[in-house]
């Protein structure tokens, strides 16, 4: 029974020590951050760090080209571009001439 109690005390002591150490480490990090603030993103001069994060990159050129081509063919297939010119002037034009 005594052995069990000693083991329990040692375990609790170990946990307390661990959390105290962790808390101390956090305090040190916070203190260091206050003393040495991290440089701003635009001040970085390294060519690697100057590149925007992956998710902010523009779409791939191939994707742009494919999208443009799809848009073009879709419009061409379904569009009525030029049909009004083929029909000739409308009634409004003739009214203008009469006026």
């Amino acid at each position: 029974m005594e052995a069990f109690s000693t083991g329990l005390q040692l375990s609790l002591f170990g946990i307390v020590i661990t959390f105290l150490a962790l808390g101390l480490l956090i305090l040190v990090i916070a203190l260091l951050q206050v003393l040495f603030p991290a440089p701003k993103q635009e001040e970085e001069t390294s060519p690697v760090s100057a590149e925007p994060p992956l998710e902010e990159k523009g779409p791939d050129a191939r994707v742009v080209a494919l999208t443009a081509a799809w848009w073009y063919w879709q419009n061409k297939r379904s569009s009525s571009l030029g049909k009004l010119l083929e029909k000739g002037p409308g009634k409004r034009w003739r009214k203008k001439e009469k006026a």
């Binding site: 030029g82 010119l85 083929e86 009634k91 409004r92």
Partner: protein, 529 residues
């Protein structure tokens, strides 16, 4: 014609056959004009007769001649012995590509095609018919000038023609095809018409000939140097087209008529479209050099945008710093006005102002939509230009664009500086749509000139003026040398990808197909002539 029948012989009974035979004899006589010898002489000079020219001009079998028996009534100076049926002009109507046109063709075999009282009456008659019917008039000119033997009657006949030229202006298109000499007062008739086509080495136009000039001023000059086809196509701007020979001149006439409506109440003609309305021209994306001092050919731009092979330049050899002409956009006949950076950097001067303004007014009179392409650094500086009246001439462009009520669409390809930006179909003179390419620069003037004016003191006091200048020029460019500044304030309607210009212009023309624009009532304006 004297009566050939013998009075002592019993008269032949009149029959239908004899009447037809008589008619055929008279027709044959009229068609001989001044006689076979003179026809041979005309052919020997490489020229055709009046009727041969007409037959080459119109659709086969379509020509209907009138007044082929009309003779003059004058007796003086031997004219009583030279009464030729039809006198010195052939008039009538025919078809070009199925569309009716009225034609008069001066007959050089009859007294040198001299302008007589009868010629005046016949030509006036065909003009009256054309105006009433609303069809174009084409004159095939080959004449020594007024018929001196008829005195004031000949002059009066000229006046009748000039009056009708003026009355027909803006009502029906008028085309003069110069196929021989045209001197003295007679030059005012082609001068009043919408288009003059001159044939190289054969046609000449001048008010006073070389002999008179030598007598009066002492200057020695030959006909070709004074008023040849090349001179009037390149220097004076009197002629709009240069033809290599008669056949070429008549083909040019046929082609030109295809772009024109028959009269001012008809819309511009349209053919069945043969080109893809969605044609994307990726070449256009890089056709404008990024270096503002580098040039490019605006005709290439026009060729890539409009229906393939349809661009027909007007005044091609005159004031080359501007380009004007007809083209087709999805089959629709349109007028094109452009700066030409290949010549004088596309600057506007006296001659190009006249060229542009006259073309705009023609298109507006005949319902032909206008497309303008702008890359001009401004008006040409210089004492000669100022003393020559560049203010008056440049004002004609503003006047013509402001007055025009046809659809007006502009594309700024690169420089649009200062006054030239304003006059070249800017938004403020009622241009319906102004589009810009990403290379467009809209500013009061170029960056270097502007910095010289704005910072002359600062630059003169600077210890490093070159560096200072470069910095200021860049700052100016960043501020103005971009179409987005103008687009952000509505001065430009859209910035477009150059490759997509063709479908964008077709869509714009569809929008404006039935455009109606009202101007204040007036007798007529007072364009600064």
């Amino acid at each position: 014609m004297p009566d050939q029948r013998d009075p002592t012989q019993p008269e032949d009974p009149i029959s239908h056959e004899s009447l037809i035979e008589e008619l055929q004899e008279k027709q044959a006589e009229a068609h001989l004009g001044g006689g076979q010898a003179r026809i041979d002489a005309q052919h020997a000079k490489g020229k055709q007769t009046a009727r041969e020219r007409i037959f080459q001009l119109v659709d086969e079998g379509s020509f209907q001649e009138i007044d082929s028996y009309w003779t003059h009534r004058h007796q003086d100076f031997g004219l009583d012995e030279k009464q030729i049926p039809g006198d010195s002009v052939v008039i009538g109507f025919g078809k070009i590509d199925g569309r009716v046109v009225c034609i008069y063709s001066q007959d050089f075999t009859v007294l040198g095609g001299s302008f007589s009282e009868v010629q005046g009456q016949k030509v006036s008659k065909i003009f009256d018919l054309a105006i009433d019917s609303g069809v174009p008039v084409i004159g095939l000119m080959d004449s020594v000038g007024a018929r001196i033997q008829e005195g004031v009657y000949s002059l009066a006949a000229f006046s009748e023609l000039f009056f009708r030229n003026t009355q027909a202006s803006g009502v029906v298109p008028q085309i003069s095809v110069m196929l021989g000499p045209c001197a003295g007062g007679s030059v005012y008739s082609p001068g009043l018409t919408d288009f003059v086509i001159m044939t190289q080495d054969v046609s000449h136009m001048f008010i006073t000939g070389p002999k008179v000039i030598e007598t009066v001023t002492g200057e020695q000059v030959d006909q070709e140097t004074l008023g040849g086809a090349v001179v009037h196509n390149t220097i004076s701007g009197v002629a709009h087209f240069l033809a290599s020979d008669e056949g070429d001149a008549l083909q040019l006439t046929r082609k030109l008529v295809g772009y024109l409506p028959a009269n001012n109440t008809e819309p511009a003609p349209a053919l069945s479209p043969e080109d893809d309305p969605w044609r994307i021209e990726s070449k256009l994306n890089s056709i404008v050099p990024l270096d503002p001092s580098e040039s490019y050919d605006m005709v290439d731009v026009i060729d890539l945008i409009f229906d393939r092979g349809t661009f027909m330049q007007v005044h091609e050899h005159f004031a080359k710093n501007a380009v004007v002409g007809f083209a087709r956009l999805h089959g629709q006949s349109v007028g094109v006005v452009a700066s030409q950076p290949m010549h004088l950097a596309g600057v506007l001067d006296i001659d190009s102002s006249d060229k542009i303004a006259r073309f705009i007014r023609f298109c507006d009179a005949f319902n032909i939509p206008l497309f303008t392409f702008i890359d001009t650094p401004g008006f040409l500086p210089g004492v000669n230009q100022e003393h020559g009246g560049i203010i008056r001439h440049g004002a004609k462009i503003v006047y013509a664009y402001s007055e025009a009520t046809v659809p007006k669409i502009a594309v700024i390809t690169r420089k649009a500086y200062g006054g030239a930006y304003i006059v070249m179909s800017s938004k403020y003179i009622r241009t319906d749509l102004v589009l810009a390419w990403p290379t467009a620069e809209v500013a009061v003037m170029g960056a270097d000139g502007a910095i010289n004016i704005l910072y002359s003191k600062q630059l003169s006091e600077s210890s490093a003026p070159d560096e200072e200048r470069a910095k200021l020029v860049q700052e100016y460019k960043d501020t103005f040398s971009s179409p987005y500044i103008s687009a952000a304030s509505g001065h430009v309607d859209d910035v477009i990808t150059p490759a997509e210009t063709r479908p964008r212009l077709i869509a714009a023309l569809e929008l404006l197909r039935d455009k109606r624009s009202v101007s204040p009532d007036k007798k007529h304006g007072n364009i600064p002539l």
